[in-house]
Amino acid sequence: MISRRHFLSLGLGLAAVLLFPGSRLPHCAAFPQFFFAQIKYRGGEWDPNPEFVEPITEELELRTSIIGLKERRITTIGDPDLFYYPFLYMAGRYEFEPFTFQEREILRRYLTYGGFLFAEDTMGAKGFGFDRAFNREIKEIFPTQELKRLPPDHSVYRSFYLVDNIGGRQRVNPFLEGITIDNWTPVIYSVNDLSGAWARDRFGKWVNECVPGGEAQRSSAFKAGINIIVYSLTSDYKKDLIHHPFIKRRQNL
């Protein structure tokens, strides 16, 4: 059964083709340069916000030059295509089963050689549930590293928007955490439930309220989301010297 949203999109698209038969959209316009690949793990709850992809991807395409796929790909760590996914996403509320040795090895190689993982504890309970399990796995994958607060001058806070605090469905930490290797942060972690703030139902209504900051907090969550995606595709681009004077001037405004 076709949804109202899909029906409208189809109708507008058909009208555009009829009205502008000569205009030539690049064939590639439909092809994504970005999509979410969400990890389905064992135990816990791997999919706490199933409706987050479309709103954040729409926002991404509206604000940036990135073309995204509005559908996520659900994957496992053992997926042979894992290394081709631009953006691994992992979320949950509760503690999950430990990864196998092989899964940890795959993740270590993926993340060490250029892969990217955004993970979030949607419950926001530090030291419990998903947070405890995720920290456990990170310690196993990167024994010499631990999730640390990303400093205010980290590229993820300025990759598109100049962000000084992180919103979300809840406001547990006003910052992001991550694992940084050399100048690249392959793992970014949030406990604010960003995807909970992005999620919208098929009728266009927000699934969750953002507390305590309301819509401003949601807007901040979207900005953080876009910044994380742009960072995953541009790395520390905004650290280049040419950006410094502009960013400094704007921060002083």
């Binding site: 030539r24 690049p26 064939h27 590639c28 316009a29 092809f31 340069q33 509206l62 604000r63 940036t64 030059s65 990135i66 073309i67 042979p80 894992l82 290394f83 081709y84 631009p86 190689r109 993926y110 050689y113 250029g114 892969g115 300025r158 990759s159 598109f160 928007y161 100049l162 100048n183 690249w184 900005k223 742009v230 995953s232 595709l233 541009t234 790395s235 681009y237 905004k238 280049d240 040419i242 950006h243 502009f246 960013i247 704007r250 921060q251 405004l253």
Partner: protein, 722 residues
Amino acid sequence: MSPNPITIAPIFPLWLIILLLALGSAAAIFQYRLIRKRLGHNKALGLSLLRLASISLLISFALNPSRAERREHEVSPALAILVDTSPSMGLLAHAGKGSRLDEAKSLLNGGATPLVKSLGEKYELKVYGFGEALKPIETGDVSRLKAEGKKGDLTDALGKLAGKNSLAVLLSDGNLKWEGNKSTGIPVIAVPLGASDGYKDLLIKRVKIPALAFRGREVTIDVTVKGYGYSGLTLPVILKDGERLLTAKNVRLGESPGEETVSLSFIPEAVGHHDLSVSIPPQFGESLASNNAVNLSLKVVRDKIRILMVTGSPSLNYRFLRTTFKNDPSIDLLSFVILRTPSNILNVPVQEQSLIPFPVETLFSKELKNFDLLIFDNFRPHPYLRAGDPEKVREYVKEGGAFAVIGGPNFLGEGGYAGTPIEEILPVRWVGKEDYRRDSPLRVKLSRAGTAHPITRLSSDERDNLSLWRNMPPLDGVNLMEPKRSGTVLLESTGEISRPILTVGSYGKGRVLVLATDYSWKWYMGMVAAGKGNWPYLRLVERMVRWLTKDSGLDPVQITLPDRAGAVGQEAEFRIRGSEEGTISLSVFNPDGVKIGSRLKPAGKPGEFLGSFLPEKGGTYRMKVETRTGYLEETMAIPGLLDDLDGAPNHERLKTISASTGGKILGRDDDLLKEIQAYAARAQNRFVEERRLPLWAKLYILVPILGLLGLEWYLRRRWGLI
């Protein structure tokens, strides 16, 4: 005359001779006893003594006595006349009196009785033209000598004359090589030519230039100017790159003769060989103008490869390229990513966004020339470039810049690059209506050219390389193109219709590359996933950059120039290292661009060759080495013969030479013949001839023996013993 001494040379051992003598004496005594009773004491003694004398004389022949005869002889000394024919001998001797060489000719051949003739009658005379080499000439050919070649080496020349000549007469202006520490035993009588007084000249005496310079960093060249007769003159020292003036500085000359050094600094902007020249303007009255300029060759290398990358949209392709460049210490990357298009809506005030304006005017109007490589990564020119910018890109490449285009959905023909000057420089063109397709994943394979090209030759083993590319992960998106005639396809897609994936070409002096996919990052992650590491991708990117920026280390052929500059008339040699044995050809062009003879021979090691040519004049020579896959050019600056010549007469050197060899320096008014005769008399050669005459071969020695024996026989007969 002393009496001739007699010497012996025994033909038997001495002890045997003494033994024979003792036996002879015993025989004589025995005979005496036998005949004493018959003849009485006196007669027996007489006969025995006669026998003893005969035996002793016979035995003494075994001593081989001989008489030595000594005779003393006198011979005329061998005299060598060296006429300096080095280039400075062609300069004026005195105002209006011809050259210094003419002066030498006049001294030897002038007058009613030419000096050469007079000396030839009295001495064993040899005349040599003394330039780059010592050439014996007939005395009648002195008038044909020319000032040419190079400065002569007197130490070397005297070494060759040693043992054959007892005296050397040198006619020279003193501009010759001399190592005073070697003794040859030949006194040199020096006849100075030319006059130091009134000699006027300006010359570049020395130039100190670094062996290597870095682009963008200041280079300082120290130039020493020497002047004769121009005391107090201020003149400019000019440094040029080809015809382009780099810098100039005034120098004021002090006392005459005197030297002043000036430092000229400039910042080289382009890598490669630069043909520089340092010159001072010729002045009125100068004896020699050609030594007012010096040609130099300066190799400028880049300290870092500067890359400007413009990316149409954030992507993994950008991130992997960026990370690769940033991890390479030899690369300086400036990148711009189009984070939002004009159709994107910004929902925040300016102070909440990090976007910066794309400095298109600064980049394409001013700074482009400062980059070695320009990369358009999935970039659509409109609306970011201005109307004239594509033309600037074309000019940049034409003048030697490198340009790479990475494909993607924004790399479009119509509505993108079609009809722009950039389309002209690309080695590929779009086909059909579709510019970009994301089909089922496409695998790639090496083209025939790709198997040998340095970019795609990731492994030295050909089979390994083919296998490596065959197993590369497939690409999800490619631009649909076809190669132009000027393009060389290195990688192409597999399947029914092969599409070029990696194509290279050149335009003007620059190189161009098109990678028609935005999924090359899969070659990185895919190989990592397969446990083969990331090196193929890293090596590919590195090689693309090095090839585009003409890194000589990547060329299949390399030319290594000698450390010291060559010289006119001397074989200039250089080493060629090529990967393709037997497929190398060499062409050498002189400073006028005319092809000259050259030689190419194996250097011993496989793939190594020695190239050589004979420079016939000063200037910059161009060597072109061609192989199957391309060519490499290198230049070599050969200083001109007179370029470094100080033509002032150097009579002090002649004084030193004559003093250190035990000779003499003659003055202008000295009688040359008389002085040479006086000196030759001292060097008159005498020798003693010694002859040995064996005595036993003489008749007058044989006669006494026969006489003694005959007398003995007569007495025996008379006294009734026979």
